[in-house]
Symmetry: C2
Subunit: 321 residues, 2 copies
């Protein structure tokens, strides 16, 4: 049985090795993604994002545990992909791994993987998407993708995930208000973590008010209003685990809502389109680089550097046959 | 005199309008970038990045004021580009604008611009680079580019800037250690803001220790060691302004070091190469999209969605003539 077969059968070591191949964009990695794609599409992908210091990592640990225990039946296979978009090497990511493994590694039905995506081909979106595809095909029914928030990485995760959980914590300072506008828009579930902190209630009230304003701005008809997902606000304390069960229920409720309203199909269509376009971007650029005349490229660069030509003008000349 | 001429002459209103044209990627915006490119290359670009809640915005206000007052001679023209990568609309950014204008708008030699870059063509890097080029050509000698940290946006800003300032604040929680690994690598100047907070001294000590470990890991020879820039750690309190003068001096020292060690040339070469590659990426993708057969594209998308083909396999078929 080869590596791909073993991974598809759920062999943890094979999955780990395959994820490395995929991360390195090796030939075997590409082959695995092609072969495994047909077996995927079953997993629910939950993105968890929020600023550094919101206690997300601890919360994701608790959540993975809670999600692996269903109301009834056999335990769910849960995978966690912890993405560190600022790290160019796996050092920081490995540290995170070890801390998490202490809590989770002993449980056979939870799989953890840290990824350093800085400088990764196609960026965070591509790396996390590929890892999720491997884990999906390997039979994990729930995949949590955790990333430090702020900026493009949040948007990328929201596009990848079926359900996006945005974690905030009280006392995150002055520029949080401005940042919220865009962040609230991607949240399917909003969390105020560190509910034991004295200013947690105030933070929750502020977020609640912003959610209401956001809902009012939509100006929906009553029928539309009924069909719309109402973003719930959940208070948690990852340290002692309180509220984690509520968060699990909120996520499951959103999954049920997606299934009932055709949202899964819509999200999967957007994901397929993203994946196709991302593949096209990378392929076209690589092909262009491969075909470049090194002398002409150097000349173009010198022209830009000396400000004789703008980058766009230099490119135009470079593209001329 | 047309808009481009007016902007190049420093007309604030014309600059604002031109920045909007550039942001919208209009024909006039593209023309302006081409025409203005030859006049640029004079500005020092200072990137300021750090997590939400570190008090960066207030610090940037103070810093812009301090930098506009040179030791001697006429006041410097300083521009601030405040990038909000999580916002798809200018709402949040505008709010930030107003808060800042209260402090700075009255000073004729400081120009502020907020940008919402979520979903922007080519992303944050491209949008901030274009805005910086306009401001550079318009005669601003110092351009501060401020962005919420974490992830790709930090790396993008570090590539764009000559000097990268990373702002941290005490009490940013548990996952800061892991995040630091990658962040320290891009910092030319490291700041612990909120020095009035009780745990500020401890945060500074931790960062100092990490800087030392990082320096030791380089294993440089003594000659290399002497030529290497030693990342300074500056403590500031943006609220009362203490330490801001030290930060200004640290930035100016890095600029002087860059000039003395050929670092400006090196950074500008990397920027020119980035700009050329970014232009190529966008152009190639747009051309591909323009030439696409809508029927074949829909078919490819359906194949991916139904998991009959992986995105890469569907793309391969799509690229066949």
């Amino acid at each position: 049985m080869d590596l791909i077969e073993k991974a598809a059968a759920g062999d943890t070591l094979a999955i780990s090795r395959l994820l490395s191949e995929v991360e390195n964009d090796s030939e075997q990695g590409k082959k695995a993604l092609d072969e495994l794609y047909a077996r995927g599409g079953q997993a629910a992908i939950i993105g968890v994002t929020g600023p550094s210091g919101s206690g997300k990592s601890t919360l994701v640990n608790r959540l993975a545990l809670a999600l692996s225990c269903p109301e009834s039946g056999a335990p769910r296979q849960v995978a966690v992909i912890a993405v560190d978009p600022s790290s160019p090497f796996s050092g920081g990511a490995l540290l995170g791994d070890r801390v998490r493994m202490r809590d989770l590694g002993v449980l056979p039905n939870i799989f953890i993987r840290s990824m350093a995506t800085r400088g990764a081909l196609g960026g965070l979106a591509c790396a996390a998407e590929s890892a999720a595809q491997v884990l999906d095909a390997a039979g994990f029914g729930l995949i949590l993708v955790e990333t430090v928030g702020a900026g493009q990485s949040e948007v990328d995760i929201a596009r990848l995930a079926h359900t996006t959980v945005v974690v905030e914590a009280p006392g995150q300072g002055d520029d949080i208000q401005a940042a919220k506008a865009g962040i609230l828009e991607i949240a399917d579930v909003l969390v105020v973590n560190k509910s034991d902190k004295p200013d947690a209630a105030a933070a929750a009230r502020t977020l609640e008010a912003m959610l209401e304003i956001g809902a009012q701005m939509v100006h929906a008809s009553q029928a539309e209003e009924n069909a719309r997902w109402q973003v719930p606000l959940v208070s948690t304390c990852a340290l002692d685990g309180s509220g984690v069960e509520d968060l699990k229920q909120a996520i499951m409720a959103h999954q049920a809502w997606l299934r009932a309203h055709g949202g899964l199909e819509e999200k999967n269509r957007a994901r397929a389109e993203d994946a196709l376009k991302l593949a096209a971007r990378e392929h076209l650029f690589k092909e262009w680089q491969r075909g470049l005349d090194p002398g002409k490229y150097r000349q173009a660069l010198e022209n830009v550097l000396a400000r004789r030509l703008s980058p766009r003008q230099a490119l135009e000349r470079l593209l001329k046959p």
